[in-house]
């Protein structure tokens, strides 16, 4: 029980430069709290997120990975988020099969104006991942020093 209380999951968030990264900035500007476990990596578009990045994150001990992009139809590059959505649907179902629960992976659309949604999404995601506990399934123990 004690262990669970102190467990702080590591969350990697990939945010597209045009919508979600700006949305994350806005939630900061509005001083909306979300847990410090979330670390954001800026990518030009959600379609830049290679499934390899997600596998690598889990391999290196991440407990959850979230990808944020522009709302469908609003992509700065017109179609990028559609590719991301399709690729991630496939990847996540495979990860689920490998034992990475669906709750640990997520795609969310956050626009540059949705600071509140960004914070709320992160809060909720961290809560879900915390409940699921540590990711041991895909972690490469050789990476642990």
């Amino acid at each position: 029980m004690q262990v669970n209380n102190e467990f702080k999951p590591t969350i990697v968030a990939f945010c597209c430069n045009w919508c979600s990264y700006a949305g994350a900035d806005l939630s900061g500007t509005n001083r909306l709290n979300y847990p410090a476990n979330v670390k954001i990596i800026r990518v030009p578009c959600s379609c830049r997120v290679n499934p390899m990045f997600i596998l690598r994150a889990f391999q290196r001990g991440a407990d959850g990975v979230i990808i944020c992009g522009c709302h469908p139809g609003d992509c700065h590059y017109t179609t990028g988020n559609y590719y991301a959505r399709r690729r991630m649907t496939l990847l996540f179902s495979m990860l689920d099969y490998l034992g990475i629960e669906k709750g640990r992976t997520r795609v969310e659309w956050v626009s540059a104006a949705e600071g509140a949604k960004f914070a709320a999404t992160m809060n909720e995601f961290v809560e879900t991942v915390t409940k699921l506990g540590e990711n041991k399934r895909l972690e490469d123990l050789r990476c642990k020093n």
């Binding site: 900035d25 900061g28 670390k39 990518v43 030009p44 990045f53 690598r56 017109t78 179609t79």
Partner: protein
């Protein structure tokens, strides 16, 4: 390994209040490769920037990490600072410890720990940064406008006024487009020809504008600033530079039974014709489908009567090649075909007409010389029924799911004009919703009801049956919850509008994207409404979405200003963060080409060293850096890992992931 300098900003108390900046600088100073780490109150201030510049020189830094506010705020500032110190601007990375750390966390140890991790990720990335230089490409100072309607004319005039040469390519024998067929314009009831024809003449006389009428764009190659187009000038069998437009041939031609498309087939023209009196260029054209001389070699009347000797039966299609810096699409629209709307009896009775046909019937230059007469018997109609939303807002596959936007207003106009010219008529308009947003639009519609006594009925016409010279209209009146029956003399259908059928092939040619309705997509629905996502392609008029004339003219001007902004530059600076194919790894599978929204990827056969000192030809991808916008879709689609995105390379993002998960 780069020699890296880390600069932690306090941002006054914005960062320093929740992040222990000194501890962050100290912790990051111990990271591998970091040779210098410091903190300062305001890194973006002149003093802060000087500090960075001096440190770069003093410690011979190869990479810089700045822990400060969002890169969206000051990335450019710090890149410029680095550049001034002689470092490549793309060797700078920002760790966002304000918006994404100090402002959202209240607890100092937590925030400090996160700031260190974000700093580490930035350091890991900067280790793998490579100096990037923005490429330049020259700009051809000439624009191509595809489509010579009001949108194309206005765009061309505005570009020409700024001093740039423009070519208009129009597939019909004359420019002017749909507006030439319209009688009056709402809401002012100006005569359309009176305001359009001067513009057509102006375009023809402008030194900077060339008009290629009766021509089509055959192919377009190249990219922004450097397009190369082939224009097909279709044979009109009349020498354009010799014909005086006297029209004698069009009176003497013995082939009299050619449906006149300008009047939508409501009357006939000859096989040699000038579409209308004010056509630009005013040159005759022979219709090869009807000309007896061209079909059987017997006739030649037009050549005999032509005093200028302009007729040339042996004329062939001509091809013109030209370079352009920008292309404007202004392909316009057509009303949809109504042959699948049997319920309205459009194909059964000539007295059921579309609104555009009705324009011609009301027009002084139309088939009835402006007197409203029934097409079937030439009698004066007394009861007219207008049906709105025919094919618009319809999810059946014969219709269009969108609102065509202009029908409510032109129907109000038609109804009003009928009542004004012929007070003895009863005019009914069946509507689902009357949509009249626009300056003086609703007032106009209300005038039709209040002053002119047009009967607006909320409901829809269910069927029209021609019977004993009348049209039996069965409709619903939703407000009185009744089914009503009207014996009408004419039924006018407000047909939905759809993009011109040529738009799809032009979009493919230009790699400009379209929506499911074949309207061109804009680069951003709110902020870049006149640009296509493909650089150098601009949109004008209805090809982008339904519009009325003032909106079309406004968009045409906006497109022109964007074109002028592009052509005014001698060179285009390209974004250096673009995709790049590793030719040694590429297997030529085309996966990247398919996902690229900009058509930036092309394939070519290249020679590579093969086994036993042979040379092998392989098909490999190459990215045009002037066209690529750097989204990275191709990098993930590439199965062999040959594609990478500069500035956001796979190894850089992996390094960030590693640093965060450590």
């Amino acid at each position: 390994m780069q020699r890296i300098g880390v600069f932690v900003c306090w941002c006054g108390t914005n960062i320093a209040a929740t992040v222990d900046v000194k501890a962050v600088a100290e912790a990051l100073g111990k990271e591998p490769g970091v040779v210098f780490a410091t903190d300062y109150q305001y890194m973006c201030s002149q003093a802060g920037q000087d500090m960075i510049r001096d440190a770069i020189k003093e410690h011979n830094l190869g990479g810089v990490v700045i822990c400060s506010c969002s890169p969206r705020m000051h990335e450019t500032t710090f890149r410029k600072t680095a550049e001034k110190a002689g470092l490549n601007p793309y060797m700078v990375e920002i760790a966002n410890i304000r918006e994404q750390c100090s402002w959202i966390h209240k607890d100092m140890p937590t925030a400090t720990e996160k700031a260190v991790i974000l700093g580490r990720a930035a350091i890991a990335k900067v280790h793998l940064n490579a100096p990037l230089t923005a490429g330049e490409s020259p700009v051809t100072k000439r624009a191509l406008v595809i489509g010579g309607g009001i949108a194309g004319i206005q765009t061309a005039l505005d570009i020409a006024d700024a001093g740039f040469p423009v070519d208009i390519v129009e597939k019909k024998p004359t420019i002017g487009g749909k507006m030439t067929q319209i009688d009056k314009t709402f809401p002012t009831l100006d005569c359309a020809a009176c305001i359009l024809t001067p513009k057509m003449v102006e375009a023809a006389q402008n030194e900077n504008i060339r008009i290629f009428s009766y021509s089509e764009v055959d192919s377009v190659k190249g990219f922004v600033g450097n397009f190369h187009a082939t224009i097909r000038r279709k044979a009109r069998y009349v020498k354009e530079d010799v014909c005086t437009g006297c029209g004698l041939c069009t009176e003497k031609c013995p082939q009299k039974k050619v449906p006149n498309e300008f009047n939508l087939g409501l009357d006939n023209r000859r096989a040699i014709y000038i579409p209308f009196a004010q056509a630009v260029p005013k040159v005759a054209t022979i219709d090869p489908n009807y000309c007896t001389m061209l079909k059987s070699g017997k006739c030649g009347v037009c050549a005999k009567v032509c005093t200028a000797g302009a007729i040339d039966y042996k004329q062939k299609d001509e091809f013109i090649e030209e370079d352009y810096g920008a292309i404007v699409v202004a392909t316009g629209f057509n009303p949809i075909k109504l042959d699948r709307y049997d319920e309205y009896a459009y194909s059964q009775s000539p007295d059921v007409v579309t609104s555009l046909e009705f324009e011609r019937l009301m027009n002084a230059a139309g088939p009835t010389a402006g007197t409203l007469l029934r097409p079937s018997d030439g009698e004066h109609p007394h009861t007219l029924v207008f049906v709105q939303c025919v094919g618009s807002r319809e999810t059946r596959d014969c219709g269009k799911p969108y609102c065509s936007k202009i029908c409510c207003m032109y129907t109000a106009k038609h109804a009003m004009l009928c009542r004004e010219k012929y007070p003895d008529t009863e005019v009914y308009v069946f509507y689902i919703d009357v949509r009249t947003p626009g300056k003086n639009f609703d007032e106009f519609y209300r005038r039709a009801v209040e002053e002119y006594g047009v009967h607006y009925i909320k409901g829809m016409v269910g069927k029209v049956v021609p019977e004993n010279g009348k049209l039996k209209v069965q409709a619903s009146d939703l407000l009185s919850n009744e089914q009503i029956h009207i014996d009408a003399d004419m039924v006018i259908l407000a047909a939905a509008i759809e993009p011109d059928e040529s738009a799809r092939s032009i979009a493919t040619m230009l790699t400009a994207s379209m929506d499911t309705n074949d309207f061109f997509t804009e680069a951003h629905p709110k902020l870049r409404p006149v640009e296509s996502p493909t650089a150098g392609i601009f949109l004008s008029g209805v090809c982008q979405g339904p519009k009325d004339i003032p909106e079309t003219v406004a968009q045409a001007g906006a497109a022109a200003s964007k074109v002028i902004g592009l052509l005014a530059k001698d060179h285009l600076m390209c974004n250096p963060c673009v995709a790049e194919a590793n030719e040694l790894m590429c297997n030529g599978c085309s996966s990247c080409e398919k996902v690229c929204p900009y058509g930036a990827i092309t394939y070519s056969d290249k020679e590579f060293p093969g086994p036993n000192r042979t040379r092998v030809l392989r098909r490999v991808a190459s990215v045009n850096p002037a066209v690529c916008q750097g989204c990275g879709a191709c990098t993930v689609a590439c199965p062999s890992g040959a594609m990478d995105l500069k500035g956001f390379s796979t190894s850089q993002i992996m390094a960030e992931v590693d640093a965060i998960c450590k």
